[in-house]
Amino acid sequence: MLKTRFFKAELETPFVLASGILGLTASSMIRVLDFGCGAVTTKSFNMEWRKGHKAPSILPFENGLLNAVGLSNPGADEMVREISQFKSRTNRPLFASIFGRTIDEFGQVAEKIVGLQPDLIEVNVSCPNVRSEFGRPFGDSPQDTAAITRLVKNIAGSHIPVSMKLGPHGPGIGLMAKACEDNGADAITAINTVGPGMLIDIDVRKPILANKTGGVSGPAILPIAVKSVYEVYQAVKIPIIGTGGVTTAADAIQMILAGASLVGVGTAVYERGIEVFHELAAGIENYMTTYGFKTIEDFRGLAHE
């Protein structure tokens, strides 16, 4: 009932492990699939490994998480190894998330991985930690985003779909999504973390995150994510991976009604545990039975009617 096709990939469930969550190693990603997730996204990586920011870099608060891991990652070579490992152990879907500190680097990382045939290349232009020379995420600039889209799509070719991962900020996510579509993107992932935010320990009187600020994820951002997906759905025809604050089946259904083809799940792995995928699946199946929907497609985008 929940089986979903996304380009050439067959997903057991419409859930995608969001980038940055348990996506560092083959073993870790396979375990998440075993728990009922439909596809996994790797941690975003670039050419050179990065240690990232000091801790605390991931901070729970009452309504979600703040994170400023600083795009720590083991670098493209190591990730190529993990992705190959993954591919040798399973043929379930893997989405490779890439970023670059320069526009060129996006291309270099893409080159590194096309040969591995990931089921999708997700291009992270929206992390508050990846900034163009103007000090803002590439994803705030339609020009930069368009250029990166063309570059990566060119390398990915026609057989590997490319999804551009956008944030809710910048000049309007609908407009940004349109720029991506017009430049060859096959899908949009919306959204990355929100804010950023800061929390201060009132007793030591310092920001708690070592990086001081961090992106907000989890329940706090659900309404912003739903609205972003709704807006992207009206702006483009390409499919959407709706991500942000999904914790319960009702949240996931909202995403699909707003127009998402797949639903990204990140912070809920913390909020509800790794078992969350089973809960989400059960809840959606129940909903589909109640209303007689046979596939996810049957109710995708219905909130627009």
Partner: protein, 260 residues
């Protein structure tokens, strides 16, 4: 306590020797032996530490000077506030007729375990070792609580040699039904085949680089099992370890790169 960050003043510091100290905090939460907390030194960093003891009033954490973070901890003063969150992870289970093997700073989680086992009236003995006498945690307290064998690499206290030096002989001569171990990974590499061969059940308290402590960053995941050491560990038993291929060979650093 909780996953949310909160700072508490250090109530007391006990220096066990150079570069080895215990910090005491008010007991504001419960913790089970084997569980760990994240300790934040504002302006410096945050790292995971086993709780080494819990009493009616105190939570004790024992720290060995190593790199920048733990060295900074050696400069802390009573009254200074550190962030604590947790407790995280799965604790030890409780068994009778157990041997508690601790190497170096790995002795810390065995201390709280011993307290619990002795409260439950279980039989157990300690087997502890360190490089040298002043790197050995709690030898006197342990001796008062249970039979305690001590080893040092330089022979400055107890027998000279590795803590695992006489392990087979001990296992074969005494009524030992369960083994707990905590310490450097090489200890587990030595112990595992010996215990497996004797079909003795065991739990090892392990360490990996941890970034979040709450099971989402993926930094502490063990090949090939996919076990998140911060959630499904840090205590792993013989069944968990069957799926772990990286024991004693590789682990991952702050970037996620494999190091040996």
């Amino acid at each position: 306590m909780s996953d949310l960050m909160k700072t508490y003043p250090i109530l007391k510091i006990i220096d066990h020797g150079p570069g080895l100290r215990s910090l005491y905090f008010e007991k504001t939460f419960e913790v089970q032996p084997g569980q760990f907390i994240n300790l934040w030194l504002p302006g410096v960093d945050e790292k995971p530490f086993s709780v080494s003891r819990i009493t009616a009033d105190f939570i004790e954490v024992s720290i060995k000077a190593y790199g920048p973070f733990s060295q900074a901890i050696m400069q802390c003063q009573p009254g200074q506030r550190l962030g604590l969150r947790g407790p995280f992870g799965r604790p030890f289970s409780w068994h009778n007729n157990a041997l508690l093997i601790g190497g170096g700073i790995g002795i810390a989680p065995l201390r709280i375990l011993g307290d619990t086992l002795s409260q439950k009236g279980f039989n157990f003995s300690y087997l502890i070792g360190a490089v040298t006498a002043h790197e050995l945690l709690f030898p006197e307290e342990m001796k008062r609580q249970a039979a305690t064998r001590i080893y040092t690499d330089d022979g400055s206290l107890g027998k000279k040699g590795r803590v695992t030096a006489d392990i087979e002989q001990i296992l074969d001569s005494e009524k030992i039904e369960f083994v707990y171990a905590a310490g450097p990974e090489i200890m587990f590499v030595v112990l595992k085949p010996i215990l497996d061969q004797r079909r003795l059940p065991y739990e090892f308290c392990m360490e990996r680089y941890m970034k979040c402590g709450i099971g989402i960053c993926g930094q502490c995941v063990l090949d090939d099992s996919g076990i998140r050491l911060c959630v499904e560990g840090p205590v792993l038993n013989q069944d968990d370890l069957k799926q772990v291929t990286e024991l004693g060979s590789v682990h991952r650093d702050a970037s996620g790169r494999r190091v040996r």
